[in-house]
Amino acid sequence: MTTQRKAVALISGGLDSMLAAKIILNQGIHVEGVNIFTGFCVAGHTHAIRARDRNKSMRNHALWVADQLGIKLHIIDVIEEYKQVLLNPKHGYGANLNPCLDCKGFMVRKAREWMDQHRFDFIITGEVVGQRPKSQLKHKLPIIARESEAFDRLLRPLSAQVLEPTLPERAGWVDREKLGRITGRSRKAQMAMADRFGFSGYSQPAGGCCFLTDSNYSAKLRDLWRMRGERRYEFDDIMLLKVGRHLRPRPNFKLIVARDAGENRFLHGFSKRFTHLYTDSHPGPLALIDGHASRDELELAARITARFGQGRAASQVRVKVTQRDGHQQVLSVTPLSQDQIPKEWYV
């Protein structure tokens, strides 16, 4: 009897890793997926928070993919460990704060550890040669195999035929002839393959798999580090960077102002940990103060908060300020007008 070979697939939730897993499933290999949760993943979060996105699908893409493929998916929480990847990437950053090459090596390493623990035989990813500028150039792929210590147990089914044969191919566990030879940035070959497999409704995120490729998000993260005087973050910090308008009217504090009811609710969950403000006389947003604001600055914060509420045209708006220790005060202020808020305040 031949041994049933087993592969662990890195499932991001996008189309490429879905296709890679399908190709290997079709060769009679037992496949299970792992999804690595760094805290920066796009899937779900903004939808979960923002009211206007509620009608869009709120599903987690990786789970959806696994469900479609009929494979198990194990989500691995790496929030803590990932800090080292993001804060000290050996190979540097991409266009924004995305440490893609280090990140890929790290994710494959996690899959490799999972493979060892569960006695699986090899690892598959949806990587395509030449698809992304930095991390998927042909000469970069061996770096990922080496640094993850997956070596030749790492197979990229979509591009396998243009790469050196790996152990699963050499040992005849999979048929190399039936693997892909896709290269480059065009998505045509993947779309055609998706059609052939009868896949529809998959997600095609434009930027990449995470917020770190987003320039606005990266700017907010840089601002956070600069103002704290050190490069460090906690999970709550990176969640809050995904939510609300961020305005820094003074170096010593930043305001996070909710944009809709969903964000109001989300920020409310943080309100015990921050001095926060909301308009008392009119409907309006909740705003958190990150940092320390003096008395005068609290008044400025109240005027900004009032600007984003329904009382923005009123001459006076009452704003309730609650300190972290629970102490409350009400300020009557004139909302700032739009042109009193310089663009530079927006982080």
């Binding site: 779900g44 979060h45 928070i49 599903r59 987690n60 789970l63 009929g70 989500i75 969950g269």
Partner: protein, 77 residues
């Protein structure tokens, strides 16, 4: 059968699933687990996770503003 609860409130996707996954690992076949969440995405994600791992969703409901997913653990070994 033993009943368990898990507080996954104020966590957003996919953390409620991650916590469910960790909790179910410690349980036996036939045990029931109630997961309390605030992120509505849990209504899609926990059932999807159950489906692919062979666990059964017994009921989903809303209690005092929380979303509650009750599932029954099925393990092969």
């Amino acid at each position: 059968m033993t009943g368990f609860t898990l507080d996954a409130r104020n966590l957003i996707c996919p953390l409620p699933v991650v916590r469910t996954q960790e909790k179910v690992e410690q349980l036996d076949s036939g045990d029931e687990l109630e997961v309390f969440c605030t992120d509505p995405a849990a209504l899609h994600d926990i059932p999807a996770w159950c489906r692919i791992h062979g666990h059964q969703v017994v009921e989903t409901s809303e209690r005092r503003g929380d979303i509650v997913v009750r599932l029954r653990v099925h393990k092969l070994d």
